[in-house]
């Protein structure tokens, strides 16, 4: 049986409403905030080194979580609420892990997340 124009319009409207609802729900899902600090560190391809630098940052009370992006040669830091970590402290921690720190960036809050699925630990 052929659909009437009215039925076809109802189907389109229903699908549009479903898609809109899906997008709204997707936007409402909690998203990982961008890191507070991103520091460049060369020579992170050895896991003993990468986990070592992760360890030195995790041991700091200011740091909530750490992600080491081996392929990007960067360490991403999320700080505990209200905590600060100066560039000098970041450099000292990298140095304690046996590395030379590179550029230190502080991404804007609300910016795009820097952690990508392509990164590996």
């Amino acid at each position: 049986m052929n659909e009437t124009p009215t039925l076809r319009m109802e189907t389109i409207m229903t699908r549009l409403a479903t898609a809109t609802l899906f997008l709204v729900l997707l936007a409402a899902l909690p998203q990982e905030p961008p890191p507070d600090i991103v520091v460049e560190v060369n020579g992170l391809s050895c896991p003993f080194c990468a986990f070592g630098i992760e360890k030195k940052f995790v041991e700091r009370p200011e740091v909530d979580s750490v992600f080491v992006a081996l392929q990007e040669n960067t360490v991403h830091l999320w700080l505990n609420s209200g905590e600060e970590l100066s560039d000098e402290e970041v450099r000292r921690t990298v140095d304690r892990a046996g590395f030379t720190p590179g550029e230190i960036r502080r991404p804007e809050p609300g910016g795009a997340p820097e952690r990508s699925d392509a990164s590996e630990r």
Binding site: S45, C46, P47, F48, F51, G52, A97, G98, E120, R121
Partner: protein
């Protein structure tokens, strides 16, 4: 006039130094060029891929094989241990991120003790944890370690233990204490006893970021002196016995046979063969007990038998050689064709 008189003598001096330098290089390198493979290892099988599901890995590091042929792999990025049959079928997993008994934070090299306990070096928890072979937590060795409250700078404090080995009599456990550049020796109950090696580059007995330990049947211990690019052997009382890797074992990296570029894992099989994971050279090398070169295999890549930064080796009851292929997130099996 003075310059004219001095010039020839300076030239002669420089010439002599050059000859001496060339002679030294020849003495160091020529033996390397004369080395040849005495054994041949062939690819048999592989399993694993990137991920966090059963049989998948996120940066595997350590491996051990028990007397029944079951294979244990530390899946460091996923903070878990996975157990497989000898041919790679998934059996079970345990761990999960945390500090409580049974949880793990960056499990690294493994050691089986008496075919009943699996010891795990926990890099971020600064401790050793033992599990029964069904994954049940059995013990935490941390009486004197940093995790027991002494801090990493206490005499027995560990700072990123990368690997361990129990002495043949089971009385002592030697731990590669990465950031302290030493081997920390503990009693089997967890009491700190002493240090072996000290921080430094190149010289015999000096260690630079050691990552693994393995005992020979005679009670001497091999240490993967990772960033000195060499293996060092110590007597049971801690005396330095010998070093190899690069010219005269002085810590110079390279790609020739018997040289290393970051030696991350060491394993001794039932015949006394010493296998070394030659990380940045993407290969495995085998040696006799005193460092005589025996074999090498592997090349960079993803093909069968190629590696992307191998980290550890274990041998099965039938002599099969299991290699952790860190960057390819897989385990590869090899067998010796001419042994």
């Amino acid at each position: 006039m003075t310059r004219l008189r001095c010039a020839p003598s300076w030239t002669v001096g420089a010439g002599s130094a050059g000859v001496l330098l060339l002679a030294a290089v020849a003495v160091a390198v020529v033996p390397t060029l004369l080395r040849h493979d005495q054994e041949v290892y062939e690819w048999r099988a592989a399993w694993g891929s990137a991920g966090s599901g059963p049989g998948e890995f996120r940066g595997p590091i350590g491996i051990a094989v028990d007397g029944s042929g079951f294979v244990y792999v530390s899946d460091a990025g996923n903070d878990r241990i996975q157990k497989f049959t000898a041919d790679g079928r998934f059996v079970r997993e345990w761990g999960g991120t945390g500090e409580a008994p049974g949880a793990l934070r960056r499990p690294m090299h493994l050691q089986l003790v008496g075919d009943s306990l699996l010891y795990v070096a926990e890099y971020l928890n600064d401790r050793l944890q033992a599990f029964r072979l069904d994954g049940t937590p059995a013990a935490i060795l941390d009486e004197d370690t940093a995790s027991a409250g002494g801090g990493p700078d206490a005499p027995g404090g560990l700072d990123a233990p990368g690997g361990l080995a129990f002495a043949p009599d089971g009385e002592e456990v030697w731990i590669a204490d990465f950031f302290h550049h030493r081997v920390a020796v503990y009693g089997k109950e967890g009491t700190y006893l002493r240090s072996v090696g000290s921080s430094g580059r190149g010289l015999p007995g000096r260690l630079h970021y050691p990552t693994d330990v393995a005992f020979a049947p005679d009670g001497s211990a091999y240490v993967a002196d990772a960033y000195n690019h060499r293996i060092q052997r110590f007597a049971a009382d801690g005396r330095h016995l010998d070093s190899w890797g690069g010219p005269l074992g002085l810590g110079i990296p390279g790609r020739w046979k018997g040289w290393f570029s970051v030696a991350t894992g060491v394993h001794v099989d039932a015949r006394g063969r010493v296998f070394v994971a030659d990380f940045f050279n993407d290969r495995v090398q085998a040696f006799g007990a005193s460092g005589t070169f025996v074999a090498e295999w592997g090349e960079p890549g993803e093909a069968e038998g190629a590696f992307d930064r191998p980290t550890d080796i274990a041998t099965g009851p039938g002599g099969e050689v299991y290699v952790v292929d860190f960057g390819n997130n897989r385990i590869q099996i090899f067998a010796c064709r001419a042994c």
